[in-house]
Symmetry: C2
Subunit: 516 residues, 2 copies
Amino acid sequence: MTRGRSAAAILAGAVLFSSGAARAAEPAAGVRGKVRAYRAAHEKEIVGELTDLLALPNVATRVADVEKNADRLTEMLRRRGFEVRRLAAAPGTPPAVLGDLRVPGAKRTVVFYAHYDGQPVGQKGWLSGPFKPVVRTGPLGEGVKEVDLAKVQGPLNPEWRIYARSASDDKAPIVALLTALDALRASGIQPSVNLKLFLEGEEEQGSTHLTEILRQNLDLLKADAWILCDGPVHPTRRMQVYYGARGVAGLELTVYGPLRPLHSGHYGNWAPNPAVTLAHLVASLRDEEGKILIPGFHDDVRPLTAAEKRAVAAMPPVEEGLRDELALGRTEGSGARLQERLMAPALNVRGLRSAEVGEGAANAIPTEAQVSIDFRLVPDQTPQKVRDRVESFLRAEGWTLVAEAPDRETRRTHPKVARVAWSLDYPAARTDMSLPVSRAVAAVVDRAVGGSAVQVPMLGGSVPMYLFTETLKVPVIGVPIVNHDNNQHGINENLRLQNLWDGIEVFAGLMGELGW
Amino acid sequence: MTRGRSAAAILAGAVLFSSGAARAAEPAAGVRGKVRAYRAAHEKEIVGELTDLLALPNVATRVADVEKNADRLTEMLRRRGFEVRRLAAAPGTPPAVLGDLRVPGAKRTVVFYAHYDGQPVGQKGWLSGPFKPVVRTGPLGEGVKEVDLAKVQGPLNPEWRIYARSASDDKAPIVALLTALDALRASGIQPSVNLKLFLEGEEEQGSTHLTEILRQNLDLLKADAWILCDGPVHPTRRMQVYYGARGVAGLELTVYGPLRPLHSGHYGNWAPNPAVTLAHLVASLRDEEGKILIPGFHDDVRPLTAAEKRAVAAMPPVEEGLRDELALGRTEGSGARLQERLMAPALNVRGLRSAEVGEGAANAIPTEAQVSIDFRLVPDQTPQKVRDRVESFLRAEGWTLVAEAPDRETRRTHPKVARVAWSLDYPAARTDMSLPVSRAVAAVVDRAVGGSAVQVPMLGGSVPMYLFTETLKVPVIGVPIVNHDNNQHGINENLRLQNLWDGIEVFAGLMGELGW
């Protein structure tokens, strides 16, 4: 799941206030019971298949490495009877691997999405090589030890973790999917749907060719639903199902004062101060409760359905824990719950910069001031509409907008000049939770976890789900399985075995019981 | 004139849109004519006395160097019949040199203030040693050449410049004062007032001991007026007389968000964004026209007198030139003139800082945001009252104010926490332009320049005139003489000869004709 490295580092470990109990050996009925028994009998074998895959370097900028992973996946899929194709937008670009398994009599076709490429590994601090998978007795910390699996008798401790690049993000779901199929077959259970596995090879490089691959293969990828297996479970360690993700748009705004820094005593109060202007501009965009003040900004916001409202209300209470953990003396939104706030569009100020503060500050009027903003979009906003509304608002406020640093003449002849630079943006996507497929997935996952998963109508973060919904016009639902504290994108990325075990059961449920 | 090095660099060369004509050889009547004739006959001698003084290193942190300057000044003063005292606050601190010259029958006593210490010279780029005075044919640039005075016959070109540390700031006025006295005596004119020269030795180090020196010597320093000879003439090159200077106060304000940077997608709209909070805070302090919105802030502002209003209206029109030079598309104050704006208190934002902007920006909620502010104070505001009003306002707005970075518990239990750090501050001072002494000084200077000097009721910048007005309860008026483009505090500091010649005439007028 790509969020940019720094964002991932921010997310990792940001929330951990329930340690979650391992549910190792409890008895389970039906499909779940059979799959669990299969897994218990094949633990080392399953871990072995995963660690073999993890031993293959998979940074997407090295296409030759990616090809080796694709070869291995092809072999793993063929061994299970999949018809396998490589889908590349052009020669020399990382291919997606598509496995196709028709099931006699199945009416529905479901595509499971995962990616097999991984983040770069350049950072220092790996305790073992990123492509030399190692099992340890838990999360890194005092007393954690390496485990020699060859010497282990009996069941593996489910709190043990596999350390390697992509252990969680995102090779574990691939092995969980294949093992789920193995378990179903060993139990004599035929899948309830036609299965396709779509394994992307450059997700961590921004999925540059994904849209093209999808467009070139509309027929091959025809399906009734896509299930995304990327991302972590809920920070409470409960399984979660998500139906959408917000979009994103980046904006850098720069406003200008005098050409040179000016002595504030001799020119202040007369030569315009760009830092003050910027403060007023930012305050005019958003209030302190998070409300976006740009006229029309909320016009395109699709109202929440009753089901989505219910799901928001039913989210695990994380607010008090977060307030303590993050030392928040207040929250925005007049006391609304976190998830409720994540269902709305958001304007976040990423940073402010004008001249210097503290020791370095001079008694001077700065020459310019800059604000960095990220917008989070919700259905049915589009980046283009957001850009239009923001720019219309600024123009109505008297701003002359320019794309590059304005020249002297532009600054001299316009009262208020702002440089506007938009960056990476894409729209939100949200699958209706009330659709039959949505309810079917939720029900199967609940059954597979023997309780209830957290139902997330829409992730606050941005995942390009729209690529699938817009290109393929298909419902997309996210069912992630890996531990939230997996150090994704960072050093010592890891996978907790219990999450792998749980994932096998959930995926087996989705393959063996899904129907609508 | 101390303004801090960076501020000085900002001011230097900030305004130059009239080159000013040299008024070298025109005939002049009365005192002025006699003084001019004396100067014309002694140009090399005058320059020689100044360059000899400039050859003495004078950085105030080196007290031994300062002492050597004091010795030289003592000798220069005694030669002219002054009674000389050294006034030091304590042994080992830079002394002020006080010269006292009683004039039989004079009713008034006037103290002329200058300082003989200089800014540090560490910066690279001096074309000749800072303490090896050199005469060049003009300001540095193409075609400028060194002049060997020994080989010059006839009058010196008044556009030539002397290059050395303190050439302008502030040894030139000392030599101009003494030469003015020489010229009066050579012309048989007796000073009209008792003269005291107060020559400070650590102005460029913040005048740390000045108040103490003044307090310890109230009787010795008793006078009817002080004339400050520090600082440059008006940027149009016209002589100026100033009657006050604004005070100053620095403020660093830091506000806080979550303890750690948080993923803006997953926590934005809920965890408070400190950069947004700061923008609203800044906007609540000041509007875009410069108006300070803090309740009661203007309560202590002393209204302008009719004379001050007239002087403001009569200031040379610099606005259009500045707008062009600085590429200003608008000005603050709804079109008011620059000097009018400088008569009011001001709140300048020196800088803003929160997380990163541009390439370095992460999609995250910052942990804190900081604004750096300088206030300019006018009579009768005091730094204490300003602090009180700002802090009362912030508290009324719901802020909890702390002096040090707040701990986790403070942040957790208070909705809005701001760290407040005040720095260097002192009050304004403004001598009433309608006082007899003020009118007398203005008239004499006008006569000495053969026209009208620029009358500045109060400098926009901050000069600690209050030290004299508050400690000594005496009218203080500024009559600076050196060129505005003198590179003061920077490299290649210089003095334009015409400014030295003009200064001699002005000071001779003040010594020989002042009376009220």
